[in-house]
Amino acid sequence: METQIFGYFIEDLSENMEYLKIGMLPSSLSTIKQSWRANGLSAEFIANYVQTFFIGQPQNTNAPIPIQSKQAVKYIANELLENAMKFNDVTSQRFIEISFKLYNDKLIFHVTHDINPKNVEKLKFFLHQIANEDPQDLYFNRMEANAVSDEKGSGLGLLSMVCDYSAKIGWRFQISKRYSSVTLTTMVCLNI
């Protein structure tokens, strides 16, 4: 098993924190529309759950959209699940897993799923761009480009997390040559 890390990736830290994990396995029994709706419902549940722990806590983030504000956690969780659904390897039996851990000063999401090995290079190119260019320029250039012609998985959701929510993002690829599979974990860290 080969592991590659991109961007700002934090592995699991201490276990002494609020923690929640949800697993989904899109199957032939569910339509894309139903699975898509499940993303929104899961994101809303996570947001309501996290909100409980924000009440009465000081807000230290200077993000344009503070993670404590209404709908912010739902936006992040929903975008992560939508991306996972878009890029999930449909032949894989691995659950799409989303988890968050809440620390005193930050909220960390991890989303793990298998991706089609054919998409790996395209994704790595985007990760290289987001790590090496000005995210604000990338974000607005992408909006202008999408206005002319849409590209599936243009990265607008990830760029909005970075630019609008001051998120730090990292990725871990776990490549198994034996099973010809690639497992991707996307990590999003938000100061609270």
């Binding site: 898509w36 709706r37 344009p64 504000s69 209404k70 936006y75 939508e82 909006m143 206005a147 243009s154």
Partner: protein
Amino acid sequence: MEIKTEDYSVTYDNNSDMIVCEGSLLLNSSAEYAPILSLFNTAAEKQVKLLTLDVRKLEFLNSSGINTFTKFVVNVRKKQVLQLTAIGYGEIPWQVRFLKNLQRLMPTLVLKLE
């Protein structure tokens, strides 16, 4: 003109020169947003001088939805003669940020943050 489901509604009223968006927009990809973009662009074609976009009651918008609004704003920007105004709530951070991002794409966009 109106697109209405149990989750959201998008209404264009040519008497008030307004497009009003309400509810949660969580559609999948540009294909599902196409009818809404079409409504936006029809409104922009019918309006001669002024058009107002009211998102105060829009509760949620995913990134595909943001993409739809940016396409519309870029389209209106090309027309030059149409004055677009956007209304949101100043106390809802995502609405403020979203509308300011649209204004960065179209500097003549007038923002009303209530």
